[in-house]
Symmetry: C2
Subunit: 232 residues, 2 copies
DNA sequence: GTCTATAAGATGATAGAC
DNA sequence: GTCTATCATCTTATAGAC
């Protein structure tokens, strides 16, 4: 099973006064991504971002003008990659599977990029996944970006589901997706609540397992919800 | 189908300098509940809470000492009612259904209290539902309260599921619940994202519909995930 | 591009009068 | 219980030297 390339695993140690190129703004984005994903927009100060990035406060304003601009930049940086890869993954699967497509296969393809990156793409991708989850659950910030970048990938997913279940109604599909979306959101947040609830039986950081369950759970859910009505 | 009593629909117009009893602290809680549910802990200032409640800033400190204390009080106020009612609802259902229990019936009972209150319990309960959703997705605040009050109800739910599916393994049940929990969380947030994604075909405020889909989706998901393994 | 210095205002919290 | 007044701190943001 081909895994998506882990794109540019984020740098760990950050050089103060980095000698080389102009990657200062990247350091700032990395730090902001980390902090925003953990504490939300209001829970983070520009000073904290600057300190974490090892740069001066004024530089944050120099590159991103305002705090809101910084947040938008963080959210935008990986949005296209994230969603293009999801679209490519399900398209590749559709092409390869032909009329043997299954919901399970489709969902696996759809979920693999975020899960694999969150696992192996470096800390940046993990933080970004948590940020996406948070933004999906409360689109106060990033609502516009969310719609522009994320919706098309979801619509393409629904198109392909319709090839598998031609009888399914759009309403049913959207409500079904809503259930999947919630599960995905909660999972990418990796809150640790499941660990405690299950007395350590499940670990919310175990994304491989989480993904496998989610695929089976959602596939069955979609089938139940989109089933042909009793009579006709 | 008996609906849970909508307990104390929160007062709408708030009397400045309320003549009567000492319900100042309730006004403060109502205002804080509203604001915290929309903007999170850091996104709300004590001044905003005081203004919304029509009281002085100092009174917030008088009653709740600190901002964190205010948040905890908000989260605690309805936690016991919320969860006791969920436990009662599924116990009543189990009693009534006997060995005719179904996953669908059980989930419907489990979901009804929050959904009905969010719909008909007054604005306070709707705000509280959104706050619970937010806290479940990011337990930075309320993690302890979450565990103490919410976990027992979930454990009871899982016990009853085991009566329906005696073969099911605990790991499978917890991971399955995690999927349901995510869907529930996203739904109670009523973010409006589904409205836009579906071009208005679905409204995230339509909790009746959301609940009906969730029951069918989750029941099928649990069955798929907890199915007896192929061989043995 | 990067830093120092600082403006201009908001924030959580408290002391004390009534 | 409620309000006025205020503190000490932290906030975003900018102007300007290097």
């Amino acid at each position: 099973m081909s895994q998506p390339d882990p794109p540019t695993p984020a740098r760990r140690g950050r050089p103060r006064k980095a000698g080389g190129g102009g990657d200062t703004s990247e350091s700032i984005l990395d730090a902001a991504e980390d902090l925003f994903s953990k504490h939300g927009f209001y829970g983070v100060t520009i000073r904290e971002v600057a300190r974490e990035a090892g740069v001066d406060t004024a530089l944050v304003h120099y590159y991103f003008t305002a705090k809101k601009g910084l947040f938008d930049a963080v959210f935008l940086r990986r949005a296209a990659i994230w969603n293009n890869e999801r679209v490519d993954a399900i398209n590749r699967y559709a092409q390869a599977a032909g009329d043997q497509m299954t919901l399970e296969g489709l969902f696996e393809a759809f979920l693999q990029p975020p899960f694999q990156w969150s696992l192996k793409g470096g800390p940046g991708w993990k933080h970004y996944a948590a940020l996406v989850a948070q933004t999906n659950a409360n689109p106060a910030f990033g609502g516009e970006t969310m719609a522009r970048y994320f919706d098309p990938a979801i619509r393409r997913l629904i198109e392909l589901i319709k090839q598998i279940m031609p009888h399914a109604r759009d309403v049913d599909l959207y409500w079904a997706y809503h259930n999947l979306s919630g599960a995905l959101t909660l999972t990418l947040g990796e809150t640790g609540r499941l660990d405690r609830l299950s007395n350590g039986l499940c670990r919310s950081g175990d994304l491989e397992t989480a993904g496998a369950y989610m695929v089976r759970f959602a596939a069955a859910g979609f089938r139940a919800v989109c089933a042909e009505p009793d009579a006709g």
